[in-house]
C-alpha cells in the first residue's frame, strides 16, 4: 500500500504544468529584436539587399550604358551619384555593384563556413588527424587572408567565381578553428554519450548531435566573414584582380575612378560609402547575434 501513495504523489506534484511559453526560436527573435545594434545592422543590410534586388526597377537597368556626352557629371537630380569617365551612371553601377559584392560576400562566407565545418569536424572527430589538419590550417592562417586570396585568384584567373573560391579558402582556417573548438567541447557532453547509449552511429552523432550545436558560433563568424569578404573583394578589385572590369562590383567602380579622384571624387566616394555601410551593417548584425547566441549570456536565461 505504500506503493499506492507513492504512485499518486508524482502525478499530483507534476500536474502543475508551466504556463505556455513562447518557443525557443521566438525567444531568440525577440531577444535579437531588443538588441539595438542588431536592429540597426539588420536594417542597414536589409536596405542594401532590397535596393540591390530592386535595381532594375529603380534605375534604367543598364549599369554599363556609356554616354560620352555625359562624362564626369557631378551628382545631380538626373545622376544622383554623378557619372564616370565613360558617362556611366554611378548610382546605377553602385546598385548593380551591390548585387555582385553581396553575392561574393555571401557565397564566400557560406563556402568558408561549409569548408570550415567539414575540416573542423574532421579534426575534432578523428583525433589522429587533428594535429596534421590543424598545422595545415595554422600555416594557411599565417598568410594574410588577402595575400592568399591574391595567390589563389591569380591561379584561377579573373572571374567572379574565382574571387569567391579565393576568399572562401582564405577564411576556411578560422572557420575550421571555431567549429573544431565547439565540437571538441560538445563531443564530451552527456547528450552525446546518451546518443551513443541509444545505439547511434558516428554519422548520426556528428550530424544530429554535434554539428547543430556548433552552429551558433559558426553563424556569428559567418556574418563577420561576410563583411571581410566584401572588403577583400574591394581590395582585390582595386588591385586589378577582382571580377573582370565590365562587372560593376564596388571594388571595380572605385578602381576605375582611381585616376580621376581629384576631378571626379564622386566616382570613388559613393561605392566607398556603400562598402563601409555594408561592412558596418553586417558587423553590427554579427555583434547582435554573438550577444544573443553567446553561451555565457544564455546561462542568464
Amino acid at each position: 500500500m505504500t506503493d499506492q501513495t507513492a504512485i499518486q504523489s508524482p502525478s499530483t506534484m507534476t500536474t502543475t504544468a508551466p504556463p505556455p511559453m513562447p518557443s525557443r526560436s521566438r525567444v531568440l527573435i525577440r531577444k535579437l529584436w531588443r538588441h539595438r545594434s542588431f536592429r540597426l545592422g539588420a536594417g542597414i543590410v536589409l536596405v542594401i539587399v532590397v535596393l540591390a534586388l530592386l535595381a532594375p526597377f529603380i534605375t534604367d537597368g543598364s549599369p554599363n550604358k556609356m554616354s560620352l556626352r555625359d562624362r564626369f557629371t557631378p551628382p545631380s537630380a538626373e545622376h544622383p551619384f554623378g557619372t564616370d569617365n565613360f558617362g556611366r551612371d554611378i548610382f546605377t553601377r553602385v546598385l548593380y555593384g551591390a548585387r555582385i559584392s553581396l553575392w561574393i560576400g555571401f557565397a564566400s562566407a557560406m563556402l568558408a563556413a561549409a569548408g570550415g565545418a567539414i575540416v573542423g569536424m574532421a579534426s575534432a572527430w578523428f583525433r589522429r588527424l587533428d594535429g596534421i589538419i590543424m598545422r595545415i590550417m595554422d600555416a594557411l592562417l599565417a598568410f594574410p587572408a588577402i595575400l592568399l586570396a591574391i595567390g589563389i585568384n591569380a591561379a584561377l584567373g579573373p572571374q567572379v567565381t574565382s574571387v569567391i573560391i579565393a576568399l572562401a579558402s582564405a577564411y576556411v582556417p578560422r572557420m575550421a578553428r571555431i567549429v573544431r573548438a565547439a565540437a571538441l567541447v560538445i563531443r564530451e557532453l552527456d547528450y552525446v554519450d546518451a546518443a551513443r547509449v541509444s545505439g547511434a552511429g558516428a554519422t548520426r552523432i556528428i550530424f544530429r548531435h554535434i554539428l547543430p550545436n556548433c552552429m551558433a558560433p559558426l553563424l556569428v563568424s559567418v556574418t563577420f566573414v561576410f563583411a571581410y569578404a566584401i572588403l577583400a573583394e574591394a581590395a582585390l578589385s582595386f588591385l586589378g584582380i577582382g571580377p573582370p572590369p565590365p562587372h560593376p562590383s564596388w571594388g571595380n567602380i572605385i578602381a576605375e575612378g582611381r585616376d580621376y579622384s581629384v576631378e571626379a571624387w564622386w566616382i570613388m566616394l559613393f561605392p566607398g560609402l556603400a562598402i563601409s555601410l555594408a561592412a558596418l551593417g553586417t558587423n553590427l548584425l554579427g555583434d547582435g547575434l554573438r550577444d544573443v547566441l553567446d553561451p555565457r549570456l544564455k546561462m542568464e536565461q
Binding site: I7, A17, L189, D190, G199, A200
Partner: protein
Amino acid sequence: MLDVQNLSVDFRVDSGWIRSVSDVSFALPANSTLGIVGESGSGKSVTALSILRLHAARTTRMSGKIMFDGNDLLAMPERRLRDLRGRDIAMIFQDPMHSLNPVLTIGDQIGETLRIHQGLSATEARNRAVELLDMVRIPDAKSRVTEFPHRLSGGMRQRVMIAMAIACRPRLLIADEPTTALDVTVQAQILELLRELRQEIGMSVILISHDLGLVAEFSERVIVMYAGELVEDAPARTVFDTPQHPYSEGLLRAIPSPDEDVSRLYAIPGRIPDPGNRPPGCNFAPRCALAEPACHAAPPPLEAFAPGHFIRCPVRMKTTEPAE
C-alpha cells in the same frame, strides 16, 4: 544475464597507466536489481560505463570479461555493440540538465532510439514518444512531445531520459546516480518511477549511487566499492542492517538519522587514496579503525563471510561470527 568477470580498467595519464577499477566481478540475473555504492572516485561509474564500452578507446585499457547473454561485450566488434546499446542495454545519466540535446525536441530524442533500432517512421516514433512520456508520468504528453529540453525542470528531464532509455524495452537499465542532481522530493518520485517501470517492463536495473540507504531500499543485492575494488557484496538487507566491511559501516553511519539529535555529523576520516598512489596493503587501511599491521602489508582477498555475503576484510573475517 549479465556476468562481469575480473573487470579491470586502466586509464592513460601522462605518466603511464592508472588502474581505476581492479578485478571486479559480479553477476546480475534477469529481472533483478543490483546497487553499486561507493564515494566519488571509487570506480562505480567507470564500472558502469565499461559495460557499454563508453570510455574513449585510445586512453582506456580494459581487461576481464563482461558477458551479456553469453557474449563478451568487451570483445565484441563496435557494430554489434551498437545494436545492443539502447535496444538491450540502456543507461541514464547523473545530470539531466546536460544529457538532452538542446537543439532537438524531446519527442525527437525519445524517438531516436526507436528509429535506430526498430526503423520506425517519424510519425510512428512521435506517437510512441507520446506513449512513453505517458509511461514516465509526464502530464499532457501530447503537447509536451514537441518541446525543447530547456523548458523542462530537472525532474522532468530525468523522466524524459528514462523514457529514452526504456523506449525499446531494454532488458538491462544502468542508472548512474539518476537522482543525485535532483531535489529530495523529486528523487523519491524518480526512484518510484524506476521501480514501477522495472516491474512493468521486466528489466534488470543497476543502480549506482553514493547513497547506501537509497541503494539498499531499491535493490535486491548491493556491492560496495572502494578505490576501484569491490569490498563487500551481499543482499541489500544484509548490507544495510549488518554491514561487515568497515567502509560499508562508515557509509551507513554517515547517513544522518532524523531520530537522533547529533551535534556533529559522522564522516569517515581521511580521503580515498589517489589511484596512482594506492597503499601497498588494504586500500582502506589508512582510514580504518580496525586496521592491524597485516592490513598495511598485503592486499586482502575477497572472502566469503557467509553464504552470499563476501567481504574484503581479514580482520572481520576472524573476529566476527556471522549471524545465522
